[in-house]
């Protein structure tokens, strides 16, 4: 598979930091039957960005935009990691040694192990380093 196939579109939603905003986003996605695989909230003073990996990113984008949300797509990659002590170190160290900077990251732990979602400064290098080390990247097709 080409490196491109591992670039996953995360939806990033600008949200004011006040009660009910996350519920509004979640409700809109529910109504569109969009399933959320993973999400995280990053917050600054008074506002935040809700990041999510979903099964239908375009549908999510359309619906949230139509409700007035400011939504953007962000390229991320997802790596399968061992769900045991040292699993995170393995991936983080791999990227550190390849000189790739992690801008932010979040993870989920499912039935078939853990998945680390990464926003990095040089995705191509990150993909090459991870594949070179024999680690498993999740293809974007798994999220669509």
């Amino acid at each position: 598979m080409a490196a491109d196939d591992y670039i996953i579109r995360q939806i990033s939603v600008f949200s004011e930091n006040r009660p009910g905003r996350l519920a509004a986003i979640a409700h809109a996605l529910e109504e569109e039957c969009v399933n959320i695989f993973a999400f995280s909230i990053a917050e600054a003073s008074g506002f935040g960005v809700v990041r999510a990996l979903v099964d239908h990113p375009d549908r999510a984008y359309e619906r949230l935009t139509s409700e007035g949300f400011n939504v953007a797509f962000t390229d991320v990659i997802a790596v399968r990691m061992r769900d045991e002590p040292g699993g995170l170190f393995e991936i983080a160290n791999l990227l550190g040694e390849a000189g790739v900077n992690i801008e932010y990251s979040y993870a989920y732990s499912g039935l078939d192990g853990g998945v680390l979602i990464l926003r990095v400064d040089r995705p191509e290098d990150a993909i090459a380093a991870i594949r070179g080390a024999g680690k498993e990247l999740i293809a974007s097709s798994a999220f669509a």
Binding site: F14, E16, A44
Partner: protein, 430 residues
Amino acid sequence: MYWDEKHETMRQAELEALQLRRLRETLTRVQNVEFYRDLLEREGVRAEEIRTLEDVRRLPFTKKQDLRSGYPFGFFAVPMRDVVRIHTTSGTTGKPTVVGYTRGDLDNWSGLIARNMTMVGLTADDVFQNAVNMGMFTGGLGFHYGAEKIGMTVLPAGTGNTKRQVEMIDDFGVTAIHCTPSYAMHLAEVAEEMGSDLASLKCGIFGAEAWSDATRSELQDRLGVTAYDSYGLSELYGPGVAFECPEQDGLHIWHDSYLVEIIDPVTGEPLGPGERGELVVTPLVKEAMPLLRYRTGDITMLYEDDCPCGRTMRIARFSGRVDDMLIIRGINVFPSQIEHVLMAMPEVGDQFMVYVDRGERHLDEMTIEVEIKRRFFSGELADLARLQERIVRALREALELRTHVRLVEPGSLPRFEGKSKRVIDRRGTL
């Protein structure tokens, strides 16, 4: 081109001597007004004590409310048989203010307008469409008589029937137009709908409302004119008090006819060039209705440097009204300054709100809410934080004040039609 080169380019020493002489004449004239006789006596100021221009600061201010209290003719300094014209202000709150003119006043006033129009290159060869209200409003007849004085071909078009206005421009070969900036915008739309490019039009004079540099660019593009800002108020004759020259950088105020001070609107203390404050004017040639230190309520500043055009000192384009001013931790802040900063940042929407609170240790805190424009949202929190930081920095440079900036979702701020209420002061009283 000058209409009255002697007065427009007068050297400082000569100008000051003329101003002082005219100030003293004005002090004599105000003795005919009961209000001023009483006021000067109450303040213990005698006309003989005013020996230099700086002494003007010993005179009391005149406020808009004072003029209202004199309704209708209480401020006239001449008998009614010498008053040949009356105009009134719009009087949006309570009774209008009545202003009277002697024949000499009308001559002075039209002379000032002739200076303005000549300054921007208009001559007897121009055809001038005066598209403002011709009635009690000073803007209509003021420009009418000034343009006639130059010998221009004048169309007293008034307002309304915009299609006919466009036809007149095209059919009569109109070269210059005077109207409000908002009417000019409407005129541009109608002309575009009619398929007219207003080919003959080259000069636009816009006044009676505040307008931004962005509006200037748009009007210049759409009407094919060079757009000039015109300032005046009925109490000081009407339009013609200050006007832009072809440099389009600040307005020339006619110092031989108006003695200008910029003051701190709270303390009344004089401010120097480069410091923004309230424009206070003592008209020097008004006969029917002389005034002392009239507080215009308009915010501007004197420029520090001379204008390449060779005329006397300029004032900045007006940036708000004293009534809108906020005092935050002792610093005067005008919502228009905030608007100006935000307008210069493409990432930020047109709407904003300002909240003023009294925070910890009784310090005033100002919070500004701005919407980010959709297309500038990258999805990255770090980009938003950087933008927020940049807005705070730009505001600190412009206001000399630390503010809080909140980025809010697009479309979430209130939209205003007409007069907006963008400032919520929640400080209460101490």
